[in-house]
Assembly symmetry: C2
Homo-oligomer: 412 residues x 2
């Protein structure tokens, strides 16, 4: 999936650069020269071929929307939920967001902030993006209004929420193809937020590394399932309608739902291949709906036939499968997913603590996300192997222009 | 740093492939054709250029030495320390190692083991290596002898060891440029070790991503310092002498020291640039010794002048700096480092739990490693900001031929 033209105001050459890397048609004459020879391959013809270092790639910071949502998902992400300190008032929020915006604008372009004591670690942004989100308390202290959906999700029966992964006043989402860059950027931002807010939770996630797979390959979660097939495509009107909010200070922003879903891989291991396919409604092999072929890459994107029946009269795609339950009942029940895997040391005699940092973006959380989640809560075969252990909702304000700051539509 | 020719017995084309990617001189005629067009760049000439997908790259499994030591360090690694179950006897050890060897031999070549229920996750090895090590209890149960250094390190005054990162009977070291591959491989191996051993500790580390930097760039730790400048170079006689053991069942193997070093980044942040340079004895900027220039890439590898004095008579490289204390007093005090960074959620009001998974390999731990560590324990400016919180020593047995298994020199 190529990079959409985000229409940002930055004069950086990164967009051209990226299209070049991904084989886009828009690579201009001279682009290779501009890139320099970062390191060389020797082709069979013997001629050296320049390959751009991914570390040098940048995603523009300034623009109508914040980066990190319609950006092709980077390999690594850290999500930090912060609590505002008791004495952080509206003026403090403004100062904090001006400071964090300046840091993020620099770091994402590979320019160290003035207070950076390890500028060497930030020299390779590798498509670094920083995205900020506001919780209910943040908006209240800013004397802002709404949106109405900016509150904890309804309590679901399947939830076993732990406070260390739940709620928060400020979200800092850092993503890059390089894990050192993510680690350094996260610390740099937390340093500058320190006098205004404290760390409430941290979640670290990963996807396939840059260069592992063909660009555009749908990610797989640790169950082995493709995850995100039906996503709207960034850069389309469809995506814009699903994701971007259009009202008040949030116009150009969106709503973020971040849920930590523990996946019981030890139990999942005991399920056979057919059981796995049935639970999701897709073939694990290629991600195709069960009404298509389990072979071939293209079949992943086939339309599922929820009416098709087996010879003995059951639907081919089980009614209680994840896919059948998650599909929109109303046309507006659509979301944009951008999940990350996590895996850490086990508790007790398990082999790992594994799961998914489920992340979805939608213009209106209550209208688009909650009905889907309610259906999944009521009935979803996959619930047998998954448990939500964290949940948070944030309003992601729009992007800003140079000279402005993230949150300026709320705070000025 | 190009891939050394490891002289492995595998017939895979990966070695050629890797030299090709890294610009080695040995890329044969037709290599590009063999690689296929994984994805295409468009050069300014308009001609498509194939770029190999890093996910397809493999490191041979079979050979004189186990892979994962002289392999250019991959971006991601997981180190797992296991405890043998009470009823795992010598025969059990043999069965376990035959099973794990078969899994590792397949997974590293992108071939799923028979019992793999998520073969899709293992399809992109991305230079996956799996390396096994044996603790004292493993060797005892195998009725094996020595080596004498295979025991916990002496207690050092700076240590604050936590049992959850210390000791262990079996080491499984999994490394790849792709984090999903590391996660999946780790689980796959733990599944097959489950009836013989239980997880004691897990440490997950990272370096720069594949493609972020020029190959051969020395890694930096989270203090921002270059880490590993004076390492011997794989493929040289010097490396062979430092790393590979030559006696008995361990011939072709080595000794591994894995120490988790907590780095107090919050405190480090309060140290100025000059203080940082003094503590290590090198410029943070380019890693050059303080007796060289802080500018220019090449200076990193200049010989330090430990005798050079400042105008007022102090040594330019402080006697108590990490570099001055760590340098060999006896010529044999040399090790091969292959460290990984870690960063996780903070405890208390800190910003992160950060540090280094210090990993060194040497033929004889007591003779080569321990004297260095003893000097650092006695005096090292860096101790002010670092605390060892985990420590483990393992004997890494040699590699094996096809049909054999890792540990067969000890267990048959």
């Amino acid at each position: 999936m190529g990079a959409p033209d985000r229409g940002r105001s930055s004069g950086q050459a990164s967009s051209t650069r990226r299209q070049f890397l991904l084989g886009g048609a828009a690579a201009g004459v001279g682009a290779a020269t501009a890139l320099g020879i970062d390191y060389a391959l020797t082709r069979d013809s013997g001629a050296p071929v320049s390959v751009p270092l991914n570390g040098d790639e940048t995603v523009p910071f300034y623009g109508v929307h914040q980066a990190g949502i319609d950006t092709d998902a980077q390999a690594h992400a850290v999500f930090v939920g912060l609590d505002l300190r008791a004495d952080t008032d509206r003026d403090g929020l403004r100062r904090m967001m001006m400071l964090l915006t300046d840091d993020a604008a620099r770091l994402t372009q590979g320019v160290p902030p003035l207070a950076d004591s390890e500028p060497e670690l930030g020299a390779a942004p590798a498509r670094l993006t920083v995205t900020f989100g506001f919780g209910p308390e943040f908006v209240a202290r800013a004397n802002g209004a709404g949106p109405g959906w900016l509150q904890p999700l309804p309590a679901f029966g399947i939830d076993q929420l732990q406070p260390e992964y739940t709620d928060g006043d400020l979200l800092i989402q850092v993503a890059s193809d390089d894990p050192v860059t993510v680690a350094h950027t996260t610390r740099m931002l937390l340093k500058d937020s320190r006098s205004f807010a404290s760390v409430r939770w941290v979640q670290t996630g990963f996807r396939r590394a840059h260069g592992t797979m063909k660009p555009g390959t749908t990610m797989r979660n640790l169950f082995g399932q493709v995850d995100g097939t039906t996503n709207p495509t960034p850069g389309t009107a469809d995506f814009d309608e699903v994701v971007w909010n259009t009202s008040g200070w949030l116009a150009g922003g969106t709503g973020a739902v971040i849920r930590r879903i523990r996946m019981d891989l030890d139990k999942w291991d005991r399920l056979d291949r057919s059981g796995r396919d049935q639970s999701i409604g897709r073939f694990q092999s290629n991600g195709a709906p069960l009404t298509s072929s389990p072979h071939g890459e293209a079949a992943e994107f086939d339309e599922p036939d929820f009416e098709a029946k087996t010879p003995i009269g059951f639907t081919v795609i089980p009614e209680f499968s994840h896919m059948a339950r998650a599909r929109p009942v109303e046309a507006h029940e659509r979301i944009f997913r951008r999940a990350y895997n996590y895996q850490g040391p086990p508790a007790g005699d398990e082999l790992s603590d594994s799961g998914l940092i489920f992340t979805s973006y939608q213009a209106d959380v209550e209208r688009q996300f909650t009905p889907i989640q309610r259906r999944l809560d009521e009935l979803d075969l996959l619930n047998e192997w998954t448990t939500p252990v964290g949940s948070a909702v944030f309003a992601i304000p729009p992007g800003c222009a140079e000279g402005g700051f993230i949150g300026d539509t709320l705070l000025t």
